[in-house]
Amino acid sequence: MAVEHDLETMEIPVNMGPQHPSTHGVFRMVLKVDGERVVELVPHIGYLHRGAEKLCENMDYRQGIGIHDRTEYLAPFHAELALVIAVEKLMGLEVPERAEQIRIIMAELNRITSHMMFVGAFSADAGVFGTAFTYAFREREYIQDIFEEVTGDRTMYGYFRPGGLAWDVPDDFVERVRAVLEHTRQGIDDIDNLLTKNEVFMARTRGIGAMSAEEAIDWGLSGPMLRACGVRHDLRKAQPYCIYDRFDFDVPVGQYGDVYDRYLVRLEEMRQSVRIVEQALEGLRDGPIMPKKMRRRLRTPPGEIYQGVEAPRGEYGVYIVSDGTDKPYRMKIRSACFANLMGLRDMVVGHFVADAVVILGSIDMVLGEVDR
């Protein structure tokens, strides 16, 4: 193409966000595009930085649960879980069996709702006019009804406590969850039928945003993003917390690390979550939900701990430095999307603008957790 040298082309910067339908909140990225192709990407975060860590350092541990809920607002149970496990380990508390089972039921149901949100938003990014979104939200609403019956709120639960649970579940809890699980299984199949084999969806997602396992580890990705690259790492298996070591479930792993694999991994994780919940329902026995003697003020002995849990988006970790009072001296939140977003530039550069949107959607970020 000899003519190419004579033509004057210009790379134009395109600013996406902070308000853009596909940025899932207030993420901003500045793309430099050559025609439709992205040649450079600079992500900007911090538009939702609201000081969760600082506020936690000025609250006692139980108050901090609320802040953690709002930090990871699509998977609040996992955020609570990380905090309460860290405090329990600092204090050396023993959690009753029933509380552990209920925690796992709640956390896994929450994983389903979170992935449902991913499927809906991701399909909207890929261009489905809301249909998969409403299908996914139907399942979410059924599960959220259970959450509401148990905890009293639709989204911000505040249900786990250091040592156990705030209160016991309703009497018909097991039957309710079983009934909803039937529906959820059907709903996952519905979404599977709607999207997975759709030619346009496959054309848009396969081979897009691929990342090798080495790169993924180097950037510190975790969760489904990492597993889609072929690394079989799941904290529930590698370093079991709660009583995950007693459950029988598989860790789905992708092969190529592209957007389609991330979608498939999350779809399969939902099915595995259903399995875990069923097993936990089998094992649910009557019993106490809190240790016998709990102090009114939770004073942790001096020390420090890092506790991570396998949240739907990756490892949600809490690093607590305790100075012996009822407030953490330092509370660091290790958020999954924060690390997952770091690799965004490597994934996007070279693709089209439309792919950038899909790749961003595949990260399934929660800005509250990224910016804290």
């Binding site: 308000q19 207030v26 000081g51 939200f137 609403e141 639709r154």
Partner: protein
């Protein structure tokens, strides 16, 4: 707090001693009585040029009814409340029943739902988006954070309420508000539009 902003005129208490003596007035008649001279240079809406001044009162009513039935919010979520906002659009609650459907561009939007914490880094963008919306426009502050900063109010990078940068019409409390609360906020906004029909250009 969930009602309209203080700027809204009082709706129900209308001089109780005199009303019972006469026939109960319909809403349109009451509004026509309260009608104040409208400045013609305000707003360049085409209907004002098309319809003569005599028809202003009914035209205002019709336009206000059209406006309240077709409130298009800006697709715009900030934080946790956005999830509940999306849930309100979805099948269980379905804002589309009220003619409310989201549009991604501020130029085509009527309502801005500030759903979530407004940080000081985000505040200029929120203000810009508000300014980009064409008149008439309304703002719903959804959730404790948008109302006054909510649980994050003591952190110094957080704006303590979105009403510091843009005027807010309806406050929807909750952390986050339930979808029903947001629906109620929209209904309150519809009442407000009808009550203010003669004042909005």
């Amino acid at each position: 707090m969930s009602g309209s902003a203080p700027a809204a005129p009082p709706r129900e208490p209308q001089a109780p001693p005199e009303v019972p003596a006469r026939r109960e007035k319909t809403g349109i008649e009451r509004e026509a009585e309260r009608l104040t001279p409208v400045e013609f240079d305000r707003g360049k809406a085409p209907y004002r040029r098309v319809l003569p001044g005599v028809l202003l009162a009914p035209a205002d009513t019709v336009v206000a009814m059209a406006r309240k039935s077709s409130l298009w919010p800006l697709t715009f979520g900030l934080a946790c409340c956005a999830i509940e906002m999306i849930a309100t659009y979805m099948s269980h609650h379905d804002l589309d029943r009220f003619g409310i459907m989201p549009w991604p561009s501020p130029r085509q939007a009527d309502v801005m739902i500030v759903a979530g914490t407004v940080t000081k880094k985000m505040a200029p963008s929120v203000k810009l988006l508000y300014e980009q919306m064409p008149n008439p426009k309304w703002v719903i502050a959804m959730g404790a954070c948008a109302i006054n900063g909510g649980p994050y109010t003591r952190y110094d990078r957080v704006l303590q309420g979105v009403d510091k940068i843009i005027p807010v019409d309806v406050y929807v409390p909750g952390c986050p508000p339930r979808p029903e609360a947001l629906l109620d906020g929209f209904l309150a906004l519809q009442r407000k539009i009808m009550a203010e029909r003669s004042a909005v250009g």
